[in-house]
Amino acid sequence: MTVAAGIGYALLALGPSLSLFISVISKKPFLILTVLSSTLLWLMSLIVLAGVWRAFLPLKSNTWWPFAILILTSVSFQEGLRILFWKVYKRLEDMLDAFADRLAKPRLFLTDKMLIALAGGLGHGVAHAVFFCISLLTPAFGPATFFVDKCSQLPFFLVSADINSGLLIAAIMALAFVTIHTFSMVIAFSGYAEGNKVDQYFVPAVHLVAGMVYFSIYAGIFYGCGHPGDGLEIRSINLAPDITNFVHVDELCRYGDTGKFCFWGLCGWHSSPLFHGNLNLVALWENGYEKIIRNQTVIHSKRFLLRLTL
């Protein structure tokens, strides 16, 4: 992956929010502060969720119900956060109106209120995009991180469409979520302000449905590294379909000099030409998952997984 492709994906996920920021939000400093504080709030909620779920990770990816519980709890927590945000916003509105009265300026217009809601939603959306999408992209820019891990001496190989498609999916989903977060805040605030029940229930419902898209993508991302002829070490997969035949992967990759490679792909998509016909990709999943459990290095393996260039 090249730097240009990485920037492309980042802009795909964050482009509309960037243009929204520049055209609307940057004109009023108050909205910039609102964006920053709502991003911070979203980050804190995510940390709380992560803290709560830390004991249960890593999840067995073969079963779907832990993920369902995860999505359910996360979405409900975030909707609760939205209600809290609304309460804080009401107090803020009262104070701003009092302040405006004192300065003999007009009170908050409707557009001002909607702008504040928009800024809040944008903060949430940008935080989501950064944490769920950009963090996957950054290793693709090159060895920009500092740690030493097992495959760091690998020469780089260009990847085929697989990685690009995986990242493309992540970027498009991030874009969709940015939009959802941004505008659901506007809808929710106007719903709470007018007492409109349809609007109030619309927002959590949409959020939940969007979160459940996980189940519709019967896919997953797998990755691994290895040496042709030596064996392969595979990592993270999800929702592996039923496996009939089983490819036995016996040896972990040796980290010598040349000839090493990594691959990364998306299930159901066309496999990399390197392996065409040589691997039963589906069957590798199950075994790879067991290696994750044994190695306990799945998180750091994320580092080398995405270092694929040519």
Binding site: K28, P29, F30, I32, L33, S37, L40, L43, L46, I47, A50, G51, W53, R54, L57, P58, L59, F67, I71, S74, Q78, V88, M95, L96, F99, R102, L103, K105, P106, R107, L108, F109, D112, I116, A127, H128, V130, F131, F132, C133, S135, L136, T138, F141, G142, A144, F146, F147, H207, A210, G211, V213, Y214, A219, G220, I221, S236, N238, L239, K302
Partner: protein
Amino acid sequence: MAQNRRPKSVIDSLGEEIVRIVTPVSICMFMVVVLVSILNTGSSPSASSVNTIATIAYNETTSDSFWEKFKGALFNSLIFVAAITLATFVLVLLFYLRCTYFLKLYMGFSSFLVLGFMGGEIALFFIGDFNIPIDSITFFVILFNFASVGVLAVFMSKMAIFVTQGYLVVIGVLVAYWFTLLPEWTTWVLLVALALYDLAAVLLPVGPLKILVELAISRDEDIPALVYEARPVTNHDSGSRNGVVRRGVWRERSSVGNGCDDNLNSGTNSNLSLDSDSVVDSNLTRGTVNSIGSDHSDRILIGAGQGQVLEREAELSAPLIDHRTSDQLHRQENSASRENLLLEGIGLGSTGAIKLGLGDFIFYSVLVGRAAMYDFMTVYACYLAIIAGLGVTLMLLAFYQKALPALPVSIALGVLFYFLTRLLLEVFVVQCSLNLVMF
């Protein structure tokens, strides 16, 4: 955009002061992150090629045990903080003996060293990494001019404010980048130690910075130091005053009625951050700033009435990197250790604009640069934490109206968020995003 004739709403200009100080801090942090990610790609992470005062006691290697590293880092930081304390006391002594001219000269000299030598080194890194074709004469001419203009910008207050601000940010970036070359444990313990030192030095009665500030107040003088002053906010709606905005925040308070007081009261009663923003802004836009025909750099306002509004700057000397060592690439360095007059602490300028010391810029960027060496998620989390800490400090500044240390809150939040993100959040988010679980 629509050309509506609607009068300006209250949220149009609220919080502008804060944004004007948050923007350069963000730019400085962003540039350090970019520098760190570009320049640290090829080098080996385990060897530290810089010997400084901060690593004099213990040079960290990756093979030491946890306690070894921690103890070594602790020793390093203690020595560094002790060196800084000593230097600050020397500074206070010099200021007491009225050697102000010498201090200003020294400040200019150290800016020249930072811009010239550190900037030159980083430029050499770039030239080496990207094979830029440039000859040495051109390089030296450009570097010399760059450094000289920087010294003038920092020295003279008559330079265009944008140039001055730009050079201050560049100095901050350069120093912060060099600090990120320290070994990891040393950096973190050093940041925490400096935050504690800042707290002690500014708030304790025996602290050198407090003494310095009081000296400056009593003599009605400016402390010569590197301070970033945000561009003052002009109050456009001063219709009641016929367009002439006078200086003197607190003298006007009694004459404008109780508006300001009510606002301050409501600010003290509630804990909402944005309410205090309005307090800050109302105080600052009420007759501050842009006073016509007065010199914007000198006056210290001493307020009559309730409380005192004082312009204070807290100061910190930080010995910079000692280039006494050569690394494997045989760079010739001079062997003088340098000192730089950095400034820490946050205060209100004479025109009501917020002043933030350059030392704060530097250490915020060091924290974020160190986070960049791990992952981008930590960068984002630490950035938000530092900005939140800065906001809290600004609120406290509006509340207490005296010089405050800007490091402790931000560094505490930054370190906290870094470790929380690294330990908790990353596992969670990586699991989710690799399984395409998004919410």
